[in-house]
């Protein structure tokens, strides 16, 4: 059963620490998205890759956030330094650019103290 895998599922860290979240997209998918979900803002796009190339990261705070796809099986989202306002659930989703469907991972819940 193909699925998007995200690690860690939960992360508690202190302000100022570096946080790295990882995502393994579904094999064969060529698009990867990072979304952030908070009560106040809902679901927001942070970054979007197609064929490992970044297409849109306009929603991502560039001073502390970075997103990469080192290879087709791994996407990473890094926060350095983390701040309490980064506390949220971070979702990775993958899809095929020729279809309309996106498949979501189970999310990484980040708490920054």
């Amino acid at each position: 059963d193909a699925r998007v895998t995200q690690t860690p599922r939960h992360k508690v860290t202190e302000m100022g620490q570096e946080v790295t979240m990882r995502c393994q997209p579904i094999l064969g998918h060529n698009t990867v998205f990072w979304y952030r979900q908070t009560m106040m803002q809902g679901l927001e796009l942070l970054a979007y890759f197609r064929n490992r190339a970044p297409l849109d990261d306009s929603g991502m705070p560039k001073d502390r956030f970075s997103a990469e796809m080192p290879d087709a099986t791994l996407a990473t989202l890094k926060i350095q330094p983390s701040e309490p306002r980064d506390s949220a659930v971070y979702f990775c989703a993958s899809g095929n650019s020729n279809t309309g469907e996106l498949f979501f991972g189970e999310g990484s819940r980040l708490t920054v103290l």
Binding site: G42, Y48, S97, F104, E106
Partner: protein
């Protein structure tokens, strides 16, 4: 910019009854996709149903169906024979096609649906 509006923050329905969740969107695009996603307390985002804008026929998936009104930019979700397992947050989402291919999803704020026994 595209926007998606869900005007019902919360709804409830009795088990076995039918409920309709509303969604409107704003876009100048002619070709796009629309989706309903379900997020239960487990927080997993689950695709419920998808509609291509170029298709006039409303999409259906078992107990779930949509009423897609392109001119009115309306995309409501009807759940028939509601089940306790349908209790969840429901998100309407719009996908603009990027270069003719899959683009970003823009989500509404969600409707919290409670199915009561």
């Amino acid at each position: 910019a595209q926007t998606v509006t869900q005007s019902q923050p919360e709804m409830s329905v009795q088990e076995a009854e039918t409920v309709t969740l509303s969604c409107t969107y704003d876009t100048s695009e002619n070709n796009y996709y629309l989706f309903w996603y379900k997020q239960p307390p487990s927080r997993q985002m689950i695709l419920v149903i998808r509609q291509e804008a170029y298709k006039q026929q409303n999409a259906t998936e078992n107990r779930f169906s949509v009423n897609f009104q392109k001119a009115a930019k309306s995309f409501s979700l009807k759940i028939s024979d509601s089940q306790l397992g349908d209790t969840a947050m429901y998100f309407c989402a719009f996908m603009k096609l990027f270069g003719g291919s899959q683009g970003n999803l823009i989500f509404g704020k969600g409707t919290k649906l409670s199915v009561k026994p």
